[in-house]
């Protein structure tokens, strides 16, 4: 398999330097990298799993809205970014590994090269304490 474009490589290098959880996917949503803070959320280590197909990693999260109603995949920022190649932002809740609901703010954006080629997407999120915002 050919090497990733430098835009993807540099995205990973940046993610590796951040304290916020970051997920990087290819153009169809396969998870090609997640950083150490994201490992805590995912409950898996990138060192152990390597890349993960979209149908494997997408079921780990169970996103819900403020009424605890499940959010359909098409309403999630990363899925919308992969579909429309545009940035999105959303506040929602995910179930932690301990079974608690955690409020998060998630921003996703497409990686588009200098040649206007869509290379993948990045999702970055922040856990929000309930009394914030």
């Amino acid at each position: 398999m050919p090497a990733y474009g430098i835009e993807i490589i540099l995205s990973r290098q940046l993610a590796d330097s951040l304290t916020m959880p970051v997920f990087i996917t290819d153009t169809v949503g396969n998870l090609i990298f997640y950083n150490t803070p994201a490992e805590e959320t995912l409950g898996q280590r990138f060192e152990d799993t390597g890349e993960m197909p979209v149908d494997v990693w997408s079921v780990i999260f169970k996103p819900v809205d403020e009424f605890a109603k499940p959010i359909v995949p098409g309403d999630l920022p990363l899925v919308k970014t992969l579909t429309n190649r545009l940035p999105y932002h959303k506040t929602f809740w995910i179930k932690s590994l301990q079974g608690q609901l955690e409020k998060i703010e998630l921003t996703s954006y497409p990686i588009i090269s200098k040649e206007n080629e869509f290379l993948g997407a990045v999702a970055i999120f922040w856990k929000i304490k309930e009394n914030e915002n």
Partner: protein
Amino acid sequence: MKIKLCGVRGSFQTSDAETKTFGTRTSCTMVVEDGELLILDAGSGIQHFNSINFSAKRVDILLTHLHMDHILGLGFFSPFFIPEQEVHIWGPKTSSQSLRTRLSRYLSPPLFPVLLRDLPCNLFFHEIGNAEFEINHFKIKSNYIIHPGPTIGFRVTGNHSVFTYMPDHEPALGRNGMIRNPKWISGFDIALNADILYHDAQYTSEEYQGKKGWGHSSIEDALQYASLCKVKNILLAHHDPAHSDDQLEKIYLNIKVISEGLTHYEVAKEGNEIDLP
């Protein structure tokens, strides 16, 4: 394939006697085979073109990027001033300005007295990114590589040999340096198994610590990169202008010890010629 190193100094031209052994002129390498010529970058080293006997109707210059040390010699490139001479300039594509527009920022007053539009030669521009193309019998593959601003590296395949050219490249940029997985290595596809890799080696590893993100490599990282890309030989180049000949000799004496078991290397010297089958 003959490779002539016309300029191996990085960043800016030196002039003092203490740098003459390794060379004073900035990035330019000529590749010649079957009477056909490619000029890689147009730093001040392009002045060596005047000393070679070349009279073809067409000449091709491939620019890795448009930093000054890689285009400085363009204004003094004699074929520009020959009517009917075909000059093809290949350079990195951007999503904003054309290659011609970007180059004319240098080749116009007040930086240069002659306007690009007034050159008497027949000038052609080719904008490239991740691409494969042919120039005469040479097969060329280009990839964007890590360096500030749009920058590409070239893999030149001749009759029997492969020469890869990456004079400005920082593949180790990141918190923990290079990721040792081919899919995550900048420029891996164009460097893989090359007979010769011409690569940035501007700094010692100590110097690199204070210059991360400047777009250049330490000698150690360049050697590691060559090893990961399984190249047969690496030419270490783009010497820091602050390094005198004596300093480079000392630096490379030390490198000799730590590079044991890594790819075979040579230190690029201006004027050297290398023959490949």
